[in-house]
Structure formats: structure tokens, C-alpha cells
């Protein structure tokens, strides 16, 4: 028994030595890895099509990814707490419709619109929060139910109309650039991402989310109010989805009854690519932003390479698969161990026993 343990630690030590330790942390930080891949994709696309590196195209990419980034950001809070929110796209759509009609009919200003969007998001997120945090329904069921309700509500509220006249003063935020390639909306989003990262990393609330997601039982025993933390994550998710609705209005200058209905899974995909795991306890705010940018960059690069739009969903799917295959954390553990790992483990045990 002890020899087996020794052999194993020796083997592990040898592996550690064999690995170039100085750079390995870069590969382990998902945000940095994905950023590197983004740079490669952008460089390759620019080499093939110089227009890719134009201010307007980059601005388009960033403005597009900001919408998904908001959803992925909220989704990250929930997923770090080992939950899942299938309703973010519908919340975004409802917020876009609600705020859009107020802008269109009452001419409210942008700050008011942002506040309104945040309010709508929080109210809708409250529904999820109550179902998961108070009634204690499993998150996937609760948010599946609210997804149905909210996407139906989108249709009921629009009643066949759509938002299509957003004043230029607002939509310009999505197309005007401060620096070449950097739209105003990205600059407005960055502080929010930084604040989220700070909250997750340095506040009691943020650390509690990681603790709950890692092991709810241990978190409970450590005195963390588990249900209250879960409750809050769904509120945060709703808040960001609501802000995402405003970003959607700025970017597309319109909204209809089907806005966001297909974005629920894309948001989850972006969060996963950014390094947040469904199994809880890992992930971060920058990952959500980087994951969204990566998705948009790759899809844009695909259309630059004359790949038919038909294959865009497949692109998302393949990226998700690659991300999870790369990420050993997302392999099921415990009873449902992967065969490869099992085989490796058995081989290791045999080797240990033989010596």
C-alpha cells in the first residue's frame, strides 16, 4: 500500500519536473489561454482578409459580444454556485422589449433606460430566486419553467408589435468608437465586468458563492447561508440579463417577441468556454467576457472564410466540445468516471502493486 503511494507521488513528481513549470500557469488560467487563441484567430483572419482588422469590424465584434457577455456574466454567478439559469435569454428579451417600448413611446433617456432594464431584470430574476432559494426546486426545472413563462410573456407584451425606432443618440453607443475598434459600449461594460470580478474574488458574498458551488454541505457547516447565497445569484443573473437587454437595444436598435429566445444556451456556452464549470466552484467574470468575445470572433472569422451561416451553430457546438474535452474538471467524477481516467488509474494501481 505504502509502496503504491510512494510510486504514485514519485511519478507525479517526475511529471511535475518534466513539465515546463514557468509557463504552465498560463495554460491553467482559462482567460489567458482563450485570449491567446483569440489573438491567433484574429491574426489568421487578418492575414487572409485584411478587412478583418478594420475599426468597424472590430467594433462590430465587440458590440455583438457585449450582449452575450452580459448573459454569460450572470450565468457565471449562477454556475459558480452550482446552479444553472436557462431563462437568461428570455429575461434579456423581456427587458429589451419593455425598455425599448418606453424609449420609443416615452422617449426616456439612456440612464433611465439602464435603470429600468436593471429593474426589469431583477424582478424577473426574483422569480427564479424564489423558486430556487425559497421553494428549493432544482434550478434546471425552476428556470425551465420561468423560461416558458418569460418567453410567452414576451409574446403577450409585444402583442404583434415590435421595437424598431430607437433614437440614434442611443444606438450610436454601439457603433461609435473611442479608440479604433473599441466601441463606447465596450468601455461602459468593462467597469461592470471588473466590479463583478472584484465581487466574486474579494467579497464575502463572492467567496460564499464559490464555497456553496464547491460543496454546499461544507459551506452550510461553515456557517454560510446557502439558500440566501443561491437566492442572490439568481437576482444577479436577472440583473445582468436585464442590462443585456439594454445592450441588445443599443446594438441592434430593435427588439421583437422572439428576442433572446435562442440566446440561453449560447450564454451557457460562452460561460463554459470562459472556464466556468457546470459542476460549480470554479470560473470568473473575465472568463465570461473572454468567452463571449471568443465566440463572436470565431463566428465572424468563419463568415469571413466564406463558411455558410448554416454552420455557425455547429461552430458554437464544436467550441463547447473542445472546451469541455480540454477541461478535465468537467469530466464526471465519483461514480461516473471517464473510461480513460479509470484505465489510467487501474494501470497505475497495477504498476504500484507489481513493485
Amino acid at each position: 500500500m505504502t509502496t503504491a503511494g510512494k510510486v504514485e507521488t514519485a511519478a507525479a513528481a517526475r511529471r511535475e519536473l518534466a513539465r515546463p513549470a514557468r509557463w504552465s500557469w498560463l495554460l491553467r488560467r482559462r482567460e489567458i489561454l482563450v485570449t491567446a487563441v483569440i489573438v491567433v484567430v484574429v491574426a489568421a483572419s487578418t492575414a487572409a482578409h485584411p478587412y478583418f482588422w478594420s475599426s468597424s469590424n472590430l467594433a462590430f465584434i465587440f458590440a455583438d459580444s457585449v450582449v452575450i457577455a452580459f448573459l454569460a456574466l450572470g450565468e457565471s454567478f449562477v454556475m459558480i454556485g452550482r446552479g444553472i439559469d436557462l431563462s437568461v435569454g428570455a429575461i434579456m428579451g423581456l427587458s429589451a422589449i419593455f425598455v425599448g417600448f418606453r424609449i420609443q413611446n416615452d422617449g426616456i433617456s439612456l440612464p433611465t433606460a439602464v435603470l429600468l432594464g436593471a429593474g426589469v431584470g431583477i424582478v424577473l430574476g426574483l422569480g427564479n430566486a424564489i423558486l430556487v432559494g425559497v421553494v428549493r426546486l432544482p434550478p434546471i426545472i425552476a428556470t425551465l419553467g420561468t423560461l416558458s413563462v418569460y418567453s410567452g410573456l414576451e409574446f403577450v407584451i409585444t402583442n404583434g408589435n415590435q421595437v424598431d425606432t430607437i433614437p440614434n443618440s442611443i444606438t450610436d453607443l454601439g457603433s461609435d468608437t473611442v479608440l479604433p475598434g473599441i466601441p463606447v459600449i465596450l468601455l461602459l461594460t468593462l467597469p461592470i465586468v471588473i466590479i463583478s470580478a472584484w465581487v466574486l474574488r474579494y467579497t464575502t458574498f463572492g467567496r460564499s458563492i464559490y464555497a456553496v458551488g464547491d460543496d454546499a454541505e461544507a459551506a452550510y457547516r461553515a456557517g454560510i447561508p446557502v439558500q440566501r447565497v443561491l437566492f442572490s445569484t439568481y437576482l444577479v443573473s436577472g440583473l445582468f440579463a436585464g442590462l443585456g437587454g439594454v445592450a441588445y437595444l443599443i446594438y441592434t436598435s430593435g427588439a421583437s417577441s422572439t428576442t433572446g429566445i435562442n440566446d440561453n444556451l449560447t450564454a451557457i456556452a460562452a460561460a463554459i468556454i470562459g472556464g466556468t464549470a457546470l459542476t460549480g466552484g470554479v470560473g470568473g467574470a473575465f472568463g465570461a467576457l473572454v468567452g463571449s468575445v471568443f465566440l463572436t470572433v470565431t463566428l465572424t472569422a468563419m463568415s469571413f472564410a466564406h463558411v455558410s451561416d448554416v454552420w455557425q451553430p455547429a461552430g458554437v457546438g464544436v467550441l463547447v466540445l473542445l472546451a469541455v474535452v480540454y477541461d478535465s474538471r468537467s469530466r464526471a467524477n465519483g461514480g461516473r468516471r471517464g473510461a480513460w481516467r479509470l484505465r489510467r488509474q487501474r494501470a497505475r494501481a497495477r504498476a504500484g502493486g507489481a513493485r
Binding site: 444556451l265 469530466r331 461514480g335 468516471r337
Partner: protein, 358 residues
């Protein structure tokens, strides 16, 4: 030893072996009676819509014919139910059904017979299911992630195969599967019932079914008791793929066309039916029969509302509300029931406990 009479100990004899074990019911104890609730709901719906809407009953035949519209959802839900029973999920099944419909349509368009079209569609869908199963079971990636990814990929493939003008206008020898009946019973309903019975038998009365339930209930215990987890999981995803294929064929036959997004809208109703049917989303608990009842509850509800003139999206909303409402009630009831039963067991156990301590 304290002088307790032997009577209570004898009375509690069946439990006495576990005197020192936990006093609580297992956390996943299943409250009986959900199936009866669903049955009452179906009867209530049928009565309500018959009274309020003239066209609904149609002399009984109308009620039967309505099943053609939700039979595909039902078949999809049956496959999904087996996957959810193992504690996994298949988000790709609806996209898979679309792909199968497109394949069937393309084969028919190219001049193939109905049999060839059905075989090709189900075969392709089965292969997709097999792929899901292999990645989930052998590579060991969470099924939610795998099927999230394959769902995106299948959608692209289906759109690409369908091309700019998706096939439509199939020969009547094919569309009769979805549009006509043997005597009074729609063929789609027959297909659904046959598959439902088969799935009930597989899950309830075969080794595979017991394995699926145990894998869902306690994967670790399943592994330690020597259950072929990888093989069972691969089988269940493959089966789910095959049933998605059947659902796709039914859809193509019913609509007489094969749009590449023909089945996409069935994912939510499918999962909703499984959950409303009392299947535990974490696996290991649930009855296929109750899922079948839930399919009828949801199907008749949406069809009745459609006939009454509601739009399909407001029906989606009502469906969501029904799902949430039913589950909130069910969860609250189960928690209450468990607490009462635990209290009763504690009262029963107390003298026995003293006996053991003494």
C-alpha cells in the same frame, strides 16, 4: 436492563435489525398518488374543453384525432424520460428529431419509398444518439454539456441537408403515418402507445431498466455492484436517439414537410412532460406510466387552448406556470409528508431504542 415489556419490540420486529440505523425516511422517498392526480387532471381537462368548446370533442373522434398533434412530443418525452432516469439529460433530442425529419424528407424527395425514408431517418438519429452516449459514457463528460454541443451541431447539419428549399409534399403512403388512422385510432397514437408500452416494459421489467434506475439513484452503488454503467448509458442515449428519430418521422408525416427546425420547439414540452410526470431530474426516481399521463395532460391542455383561440406562445407561458405550480405543490407536499412520516417513525422507534441502549 430497564424493564420494558417485550411487546413493543416484537411489534417493531421488522425494523429491529436496523435499530441503530437512521430514523429518517430516505430523502428520495416517493409519495404515491401522483399518477392519480395526473389522471384526474386529464379527465378534468377533457370535461372542461368538451363543455366550453364545441369542436373539441367532435363526437369523441375529435379527441382521438388531437393526439396526432402531440404524439411526436410524447415519443420524444419517452426517450428523454429514460435518459433523465439515469440522472443525465439529452438537450439534443429535439434537434435530432428535426434532423431525422429532414433525412426522411430528403430520401422521399430523391424518390425513395416510405420504408427506406423511415429506416434512414431512424438510423441517422440512432447514430447521433450513439455518439452522445459514447461521449458521455466513455469520455465521461457531463451529458448536459455534450448534448448542448451536439444540439448546436445537429441543427447545422439539418439546415445544411435541408438546403435552401426544404422538402415538402410527400406521397400519401408516407403522410398517412401522421395524418390518418386505422379505423378510428390515429396511427401516430398507435405508434406512441406501442412505444410507451415497450419503454414501460424495458424500464420496469428488464435488467437494463433496473440498471438505469440504480445508476440514476446512486451511481457509486451501481458501480460497486458491478453494473455495466458505460454500456447502459450508451444504450440509453442510443435508445433516446432512436425515439427522437421516430418523433421526427411522425413530425414530417404530420406536417407533410421537413423544415430543419420542425422539431426544435418540442424540447421544452418534452422535458416539461417528463418533469410533470414526476420524474426526478437527478435520476433514479419516477415512473414511465406517469410520464405518459403527463404527455396527455400537457397535450390536451395545449390543443384545447389552441382550439379556443389562444396563441401558441401564450400556451407556452401557461405550460410553464402549470409546471412550476404543480412542482411547487408536489415538493411542498412531499416535504410535509416526509416530515410527518419521520415523526411517526421516531415515535414508533423510541421504546425500541431505549431497549437497545439498556
Amino acid at each position: 436492563m430497564t424493564t420494558t415489556s417485550p411487546v413493543p419490540a416484537a411489534g417493531a420486529a421488522p425494523d429491529s435489525g436496523a435499530a441503530s440505523a437512521t430514523l429518517a425516511l430516505p430523502p428520495r422517498y416517493r409519495v404515491p398518488g401522483w399518477g392519480v392526480c395526473l389522471l384526474v387532471a386529464i379527465i378534468g381537462e377533457l370535461a372542461y374543453f368538451t363543455l366550453t368548446t364545441r369542436q373539441f370533442a367532435g363526437g369523441g373522434q375529435g379527441m382521438l384525432n388531437l393526439t396526432e398533434q402531440f404524439a411526436p412530443t410524447g415519443v420524444l418525452a419517452l426517450g428523454l424520460a429514460m435518459v433523465i432516469l439515469t440522472g443525465n439529460i439529452d438537450l439534443s433530442c429535439a434537434a435530432n428529431a428535426s434532423l431525422a425529419a429532414v433525412i426522411a424528407g430528403t430520401v422521399l424527395d430523391k424518390g425513395g419509398g416510405p420504408a427506406a425514408a423511415i429506416a434512414a431517418a431512424v438510423a441517422v438519429a440512432t447514430l447521433v444518439g450513439l455518439f452522445n452516449g459514447v461521449v458521455v459514457a466513455l469520455v465521461g463528460i457531463d451529458s448536459l454539456l455534450v448534448t448542448l454541443a451536439t444540439q448546436f451541431i445537429i441543427t447545422s447539419v439539418a439546415t445544411s441537408v435541408a438546403g435552401a428549399s426544404p422538402p415538402f409534399g410527400f406521397p400519401s403512403s408516407f403522410t398517412l403515418i401522421g395524418q390518418s388512422g386505422l379505423d378510428y385510432v390515429p396511427i401516430a397514437l398507435l405508434v406512441f402507445v406501442v412505444i410507451a408500452v415497450a419503454v414501460i416494459v424495458v424500464v420496469g421489467y428488464t435488467g437494463l431498466g433496473r440498471s438505469l434506475t440504480l445508476i440514476g439513484y446512486n451511481p457509486k452503488a451501481a458501480r460497486y455492484s458491478g453494473i455495466a454503467i458505460r454500456r447502459s448509458l450508451t444504450s440509453v442515449f442510443t435508445l433516446c436517439g432512436a425515439l427522437s428519430g421516430v418523433a421526427g418521422v411522425l413530425l414530417a408525416a404530420y406536417y407533410n414537410s421537413a423544415q430543419p427546425d420542425i422539431g426544435t420547439d418540442l424540447l421544452l414540452p418534452g422535458i416539461t412532460a417528463v418533469i410533470l410526470g414526476g420524474m426526478d431530474i437527478f435520476g433514479g426516481r419516477g415512473r414511465i406510466g406517469e410520464v405518459v399521463l403527463a404527455v396527455f395532460v400537457l397535450g390536451y391542455m395545449s390543443q384545447g387552448m389552441l382550439i379556443e383561440g389562444d396563441s401558441s406562445l401564450s400556451i407556452t407561458m401557461i405550460t410553464g406556470l402549470v409546471l412550476i405550480g404543480a412542482l411547487v405543490v408536489k415538493f411542498a407536499f412531499e416535504r410535509n409528508f416526509r416530515q410527518r412520516m419521520n415523526a411517526r417513525m421516531r415515535r414508533l422507534r423510541t421504546p425500541l431504542h431505549r431497549d437497545a441502549d439498556g
